[in-house]
């Protein structure tokens, strides 16, 4: 009992996150008809499985310093393995509880991780990145050649209602699948967190920092890379298995370079230097992908712009931005930043608005007009051929930009003051 209380006090964020994840869909519950929003549940499921995928990606990028461009291969292959297992269970070839289907994906990811990792981890740095890129393309090409396993362009369709649940759940409703996703996300995240505290996890950091030094304390950096790669394949495969359960169809898109890029973006934007960073990044990237893509043709542009801005101004990602506040929090002066932040908010909003107006006008003038779409704000239709909207957008952007720069300068002064303050108060005795 005492142990439990102690654990809860130290790691309260874990149960809190799980409860929040389970409660969140109820914020979008359709009380009139008494059912969940299917869109929201699929969106949240996507966030869950992409969280596992991005964290597994970061086992390579953040923890081992290995930039992979082909991580989706392991995700996709795990997904295919899970889909085939589901079909086999459905056909009665063998029995397996639905709850353990993601594990099949994981084992598939592990198997292919060993296979591909054996080749890729012979090299490190740029050569490693190039090999993973080549392998990613190679496997995506295989998808169209080996129709038996990959199902060609149509992919493999499957049915998650297997009737083999050990919990007696049918998994016909998205809500039931979502609960399974939450459970697996929690388990996989916990395991990956613990993995960082194992000898292999520590030596992955060490070889990232200085592979030569790692050799001279008795470790073969290649073996460290290989084992870390295989382990990350296992978790990528679990994510792939969940994908098969959520969407009930697996196509070669799951192994595409776009899927690999999504993991890279999530890990980088969230902050690859921190274990939890990729989770923040995943939430943001999936929301942009699934949410903004409904609203705008140009959503990729926003993701790209965000990526560039993060690389330029916050190389530590979102997690890095948060941890930069740590010294100020320690001296109890976080509140002093509230007003400066609020003052950034308004010009920041105007700048973003100006950018969005111009981007959307461009997109409607090009892609939109080709598809016969019309730009509407409320009831008013806006014609991109007209000069006025362009002028308005440009003026808003310039005014916002100039204002934001001024406020940013003020913010910088205030920030430096607080950091200096924190330094003097926290120098070593």
């Amino acid at each position: 009992m005492k142990v439990v209380v102690h654990l809860l006090r130290r790691h309260w964020l874990w149960p809190a996150a799980i409860v929040a994840a389970l409660l969140l869909p109820f914020a979008f519950f359709d009380w009139a008809h008494g059912h969940h929003s299917g869109f929201v549940l699929v969106l949240l499921s996507q966030i869950g499985l992409m969280t596992i995928f991005a964290l597994s990606y970061n086992m390579l990028m953040g923890q081992s310093g290995l930039l992979s461009f082909g991580h989706a291969s392991l995700f996709g292959l795990g997904s295919y393995c899970a889909a085939h297992a589901m079909n086999a269970v459905k056909a009665g070839t063998f029995w397996l509880p639905t709850e353990l289907i993601p594990l099949v994906g994981g084992l598939g990811g592990l198997g292919f991780g060993i296979l591909l990792g054996y080749l890729a981890t012979k090299q490190r740095a740029t050569a490693f990145a190039m090999i993973t890129m080549g392998m990613g393309e190679l496997i995506a090409a295989c998808a169209l050649m080996f129709k038996g396993f990959f199902g060609g362009e149509d992919g493999i369709t499957t049915d998650r209602v297997l009737g083999t649940s050990i919990l007696g759940v049918s998994y016909s409703a998205p809500w039931q699948v979502y609960c399974l996703v939450v459970a697996w996300t929690a388990i996989a995240t916990l395991l990956m967190r613990l993995q960082t505290q194992t000898p292999l996890g520590r030596m992955a950091n060490a070889t990232r920092d200085n592979f030569e030094r790692a050799q001279f304390v008795g470790y073969d950096p290649r073996m460290v890379r290989f084992r870390q790669f295989a382990a990350s394949g296992f978790f990528a495969g679990i994510a792939g298995g969940l994908y098969a359960l959520v969407y009930q169809i697996v196509t070669f898109d799951t192994m595409s370079a776009d899927t690999s890029a999504a993991a890279l973006l999530a890990a980088y934007i969230g902050g690859s230097g921190s274990f939890y960073g990729p989770i923040l990044g995943t939430i943001l990237v999936v929301l942009l992908q699934s949410g903004v893509s409904l609203l705008s043709n140009a959503w990729m542009l926003y993701v790209g712009a965000l990526f560039v801005i993060m690389v330029m101004f916050a190389p530590g990602g979102l997690a890095g931005l948060i941890s930069r506040h740590e010294p100020i929090r320690r001296i109890g002066r976080l509140r002093a930043l509230l007003i400066p932040y609020l003052r950034l908010l308004f010009p920041g909003f105007i700048t973003v608005a100006g950018t969005v107006i111009l981007v959307e006008l461009t997109s409607f003038a090009t892609i939109g007009s080709a598809e016969g779409q019309h730009l509407q704000i409320g009831a008013r239709s806006i014609d991109p051929a007209n000069g006025m909207p362009w002028l308005t957008g440009a003026v808003v952007l310039v005014v916002g930009g100039v204002w934001l720069r001024r406020e940013a300068r003020n913010f910088g002064v205030r920030w430096n003051m607080l950091i200096e303050d924190a330094k003097t108060k926290w120098t070593r005795p």
Partner: protein, 259 residues
Amino acid sequence: MDQAVNHAAPNHPAIVLRGVRKQFGRTEIIRGVDLMIPKGERHALIGPNGAGKTTLFNLVSGRFSVTSGSIALNGQSTAGLAPHHINRMGLSRSFQITSIFPRMTVFENIRCGLLWARGYGYSSWRLLTSGRAIDRETDAVLEKLNLAARRHVLAGLLTYAEQRALEIGITIAGGAEIILLDEPTAGMSRAETDAMVTLIRSISAGKTLLMVEHDMGVVFELADRITVLVYGEVVASDTPGHIRANPAVQNAYLGTGDN
């Protein structure tokens, strides 16, 4: 493993070099070196810049492979072995240019030096939860290095002298029987050098030490025997007293006004 080797071959010297040559392209850096260092000796390698001291270190530790000749540790040949294999034979080295794990804490740096030696291997299931014997051992090393107060600092943020001490710490943490130190006091102040000499003396007690050093004060204070290397050849290998009196050495090295 290193202990097993010692028991199996108690009469072999710690390090034996026979006719070792190393060529880079057409340039021969090491030109036929013979050297024998018995167990438990503190041995210094000196010589003017470009004499090949660091190259010789890299050959012994397996960073480079020899062009011809042979190297044996405790009677076992190291031909064709990768650095991590040589490390597992009981040899550990430090670097002239500080080589640590900058984004890990001081504590973790030392613990990394201990993991393999304590049999943790590549384990992906044993958790390094706090309070283990390896943690106590790590703390003991930190005490010895005078870095205990800095255990949670990222190694990259240490001062230069602290990083040099950490470098030595990583090298000796695993308890290697043969220790190679490459210019351990380079770039240090007098006081820092004195502290380093004390540290080296304590960590090398009962072990075989081979070190490259430019500071003659340090060399004569620590070494049981000194080898003078000039242009890839051994000019002399003797006790400090004889080396000081050796005219060839004075001519080639000491006489240049270095010290």
